[in-house]
Amino acid sequence: MSDLFNILSLSSSAMAAQADRLRHVSENIANADTPGYQRKTAPFEQVVEQGQKTGAVQSGPVELDQTPVRKVFDPGHPMAGEDGYYDSSNVDIMVELADAREAQRSYEANLKMFDQARQMSTSLLELLRR
């Protein structure tokens, strides 16, 4: 029974991590046109409690993508330099969309595991009721 309860908390931690990841993706997409914005990522890491790995996952500290920002030619832009270029963000919408889809699929997988553990323990108790 405690194994099944553990599955519930592990799946819940993974779902929280994926939701956090999707939040960073939406931040990146929202700031895709912000001048000088650097793409944010939060790599996942294992949860360690009292020196022991619990098997749960969490999103780690936020890191800024260090790839150079796009140069956009727009002489009318207020931030444009002498040559008519200004620094845009380094967000690639395609990469963000793929990341969002991956987060969605992973969330669904964890939700399925959650539901399965719940169904298993419910049917186990159903056995006693007859």
């Binding site: 029974m1 099944l4 309860f5 519930l8 908390s9 799946s11 819940s12 779902m15 929280a16 939701a19 959650f114 719940r118 323990s121 419910t122 108790l125 006693l128 009721r129």
Partner: protein, 98 residues
């Protein structure tokens, strides 16, 4: 064969210890375990209650709220099933023809 009321009383008294619970079962181990189980059950309920409160006020995310509620549901279901079994067994004993 002498059948007297005193004999019956003595016989009854001599069989009474058979129905008394064994000390090593009822004393520390089994009773303690049951108490422990109910303690952890109450703890589970309390924990999920606080998480549910935090979820309502925006302190916890929805995943942990759902997890706490599902865990409580399973714990309550387990406790109710065990209680039903115990009551059923007791009623079975009461129905025994004497």
């Amino acid at each position: 064969m002498d059948i007297r009321s005193a004999n019956a009383a003595i016989g009854y008294a001599s069989t009474r210890p058979a129905t008394a619970p064994k000390p090593e079962v009822s004393g520390q181990s089994a009773g303690g375990k049951v108490a422990q189980a109910f303690g952890s059950f109450a703890q589970e309920l309390q924990q999920s209650e606080s998480v549910a409160q935090a979820g309502m006020t925006g302190g916890a995310d929805s995943q942990s709220l759902v997890q706490a509620l599902a865990q409580t549901e399973l714990a309550v279901e387990a406790a109710v099933t065990v209680r039903d079994k115990v009551v059923e067994a007791y009623q079975e004993i009461l129905r025994m023809p004497v």
